[in-house]
């Protein structure tokens, strides 16, 4: 599932790393872009005076990398920061990221910061966590072997802004503002020609409370795939004495409408899963 943004307000992510050229970091940057984020890399560069904006990078060529990174935050007002704990192999640089983190928190305690550590455990992480716990900050940790999808999910949760469009698998797109669900054609492209999905065929049957149910499930999935949406959060979209039966009927109708739009019959474990009288959750369709 990806997020598609028509305008990038609040989607800029500052990436502060001394090695953004590694294949692993490139995959993270690509995943951020695919999710509608605008990564802007702050990296140390060759010796010289001042900084120069190179494409989507700010190459810091002076000695005071820390000051430049902080200046970039003030200048570009990102929605979040990805910060490496470790800068280089020198002993003094092992926790340089923590020093930068401390300054970021001092200036803007509300700014979400996701820190890259070597491993999920170990003295480096312990020191990083201990260094961070001193601050009442919005800070989280992820190790460098994490998948790009994991990094994106962490950022989504930390930033917490509602998406402008939510794509569910390859087949469906939900537009919360317009309250429309689209069945996306595999061949559709947008005007810019970058291949991003555009509204395909609108599914008119999903409106009102049915749209409310689907949006609640899709929003939960966007932030935390696998997390159940309990009945308590869905009952407001039901009517009558037996709210669960009412919900069951509406969800059946949603699945029928979405299945019809893509010529596929959706079974009990397809798209919207019921978990033993506790609630529902969204699961993108698997290939047939």
């Amino acid at each position: 599932m990806t997020h598609n943004s028509s305008h990038a307000a609040g989607r800029r992510i500052l990436v502060v790393d001394d090695e953004p050229d590694t294949a692993l970091m490139r995959s993270v940057l690509r995943a951020l872009q695919a999710d509608g984020f605008e990564p802007l890399v702050v990296r140390p560069g060759a010796e010289g005076a001042g900084s120069a904006l190179v494409g989507e990078e700010i190459v810091v060529t002076g000695e005071d990398f820390e000051a430049e990174a902080l200046y970039a935050i003030e200048e570009h007002r990102p929605a979040g920061v990805i910060l490496d704990v470790r800068f280089g192999e020198h002993r003094d640089d092992l926790f340089k990221g923590l020093g930068i983190l401390g300054k970021i928190v001092e200036r803007d305690p509300e700014l979400p910061v996701l820190m890259f550590t070597q491993y999920t455990r170990g003295p480096a992480r312990d020191a990083a966590v201990a260094g961070t716990l001193r601050h009442d900050a919005r800070v989280d940790f992820v190790d460098k072997l994490a998948s790009p999808e994991e990094v994106v999910l962490r950022l989504r949760r930390m930033i917490g802004t509602a998406p402008e469009r939510i794509q569910v698998g390859a087949e469906f797109l939900i537009d919360p503002d317009a309250e429309i669900v689209y069945a996306v054609s595999a061949n559709s492209e947008d005007g810019a020609g970058d291949g991003s999905p555009v509204p395909g065929i609108a599914i008119p049957e999903i409106q009102g409370m049915k749209f409310g149910i689907l949006l609640e499930l899709a929003s939960a999935y966007y932030r935390s795939p696998g997390e159940l949406v309990p009945f308590s959060r869905l009952e407001r979209f039901s009517e009558g004495d037996d709210s669960r039966a009412s919900l069951r009927v509406r969800i059946r109708e949603i699945k029928n409408a979405m299945g019809d739009a893509i010529d596929r019959r959706l079974g009990p474990n397809d798209l919207i899963i019921n978990v033993r009288n506790r609630g529902y959750r969204l699961a993108p369709l698997r290939p047939e």
Partner: protein, 326 residues
């Protein structure tokens, strides 16, 4: 023996050594000065011989004492009972960190290249060779396994350290589980399975626990479930007045009743019982339980291996609801 005792003993021997050295020095001094005394005070010539003798005795005694106290001091410092294991643990951990760092770098490169290869295949617009896609999938899927393996080795070292204590801090268990589900959802999906999780109550709140230990125990159990699941894994976070619980349920084929008493044994695997090649180290459940017990909790396992649709395995982590430390 308390840690202070060997220290005090070593100090005592060290002072004894200084005293012995002083005695030997006085002895040497007496031998040296005895002829001088004799020359300068001819009327006291009779003193030369006894002073030289006394000096000789003091020198010899002092030297022997220096040797004895030196050996005793070194032994007291080098091998105090109880400290040697801590020293070993500390050194092993240091070596491990160096090794882990060196190992992590090439692994990150391999993983990064695999992801680059996937992008290039996607951008080429051609249908890739299925074997190539499988290869890339395999490399990517091994990353969480490697992360867990590295952590497991580290936890094993920590468990060997008798002085290690759980590090209790404010912890959001829902956040811990959410992050683990992020990590494993993709792998489960590639194997045709789903992970669903929820907490009761819905707003679970903060508990005081060792977050690294909780993360590690749940990760081991989820990793286990992902390796044996058929279609569904369910993770449930609950609490009672004294404890909180994480239950990891999977609809895998289940564990035969005869195996259940052994699953927490160190290094035990079903293949080991059948003398076949091992599919895993057999350390995951052992580590999970040892870590939970160090936090005054436990891990238990319930499994049904019946034919039909009823087979499942449920691992339950139980940890105490601690008071706020300090």
């Amino acid at each position: 023996m308390t840690p202070e005792k060997p220290e005090r003993l070593a100090r005592l021997w060290r002072y004894g050594r200084y005293f012995a050295a002083a005695v030997a020095f006085v002895g040497l001094l007496l031998i040296v000065v005895s002829p001088v005394l004799g020359d300068n005070a001819s009327e006291k010539l009779w003193l030369i011989e006894p002073i030289a003798y006394i000096g000789g005795i003091l020198l010899a005694a002092g030297s022997v004492l220096v040797a004895v106290t030196y050996i005793a001091t070194e032994r007291a410092v080098a091998t105090p009972p109880g400290d040697s294991r801590q020293e070993w643990s500390r050194l092993t951990r240091e070596y491990f960190d160096l090794f882990g760092h060196d190992l992590g770098r090439p692994l990150r490169r391999i993983l990064g290249r695999a992801r680059d290869a996937r992008v290039r295949i996607d951008e080429s617009g051609r249908n890739p060779d299925p074997a190539l896609s499988e290869l890339i999938d395999e490399i990517e899927q091994q990353a969480p396994t490697f992360r867990l393996m590295v952590s497991n080795v580290q936890v094993l070292i920590e468990l060997e350290n008798p002085a290690a204590e759980p590090e209790i801090e404010a912890t959001d268990p829902a956040r811990v589980i959410r992050n683990i589900v992020d990590r494993y959802s993709g792998i489960a999906g590639d194997r045709g399975a789903e992970i669903t999780w929820w907490s009761e109550p819905e707003e679970f709140g903060v508990v005081y626990a060792d977050p690294a230990a909780l993360d590690h125990v749940v990760t081991n159990l989820v990793d286990n479930a992902v390796n044996h699941v058929n279609e569904h894994i369910e993770i449930r976070l609950t609490r009672n007045p004294t404890h909180f619980f994480v239950r990891v349920w999977d609809d895998g084929d289940g564990i035969p009743a005869s195996y259940l008493p052994h699953v927490f044994d160190r290094g035990w695997t079903p293949e080991a019982a059948g003398r076949q090649e091992r599919s895993s180290s057999g350390l995951g459940l052992f580590i999970a339980r040892a870590l939970a017990r160090r936090c005054d909790g436990d891990v238990t396992l319930e499994s049904v291996a019946a034919p039909g649709e009823d087979h499942h395995t449920e691992a339950t982590i139980m940890l105490p609801l601690l008071e706020r430390p300090g």
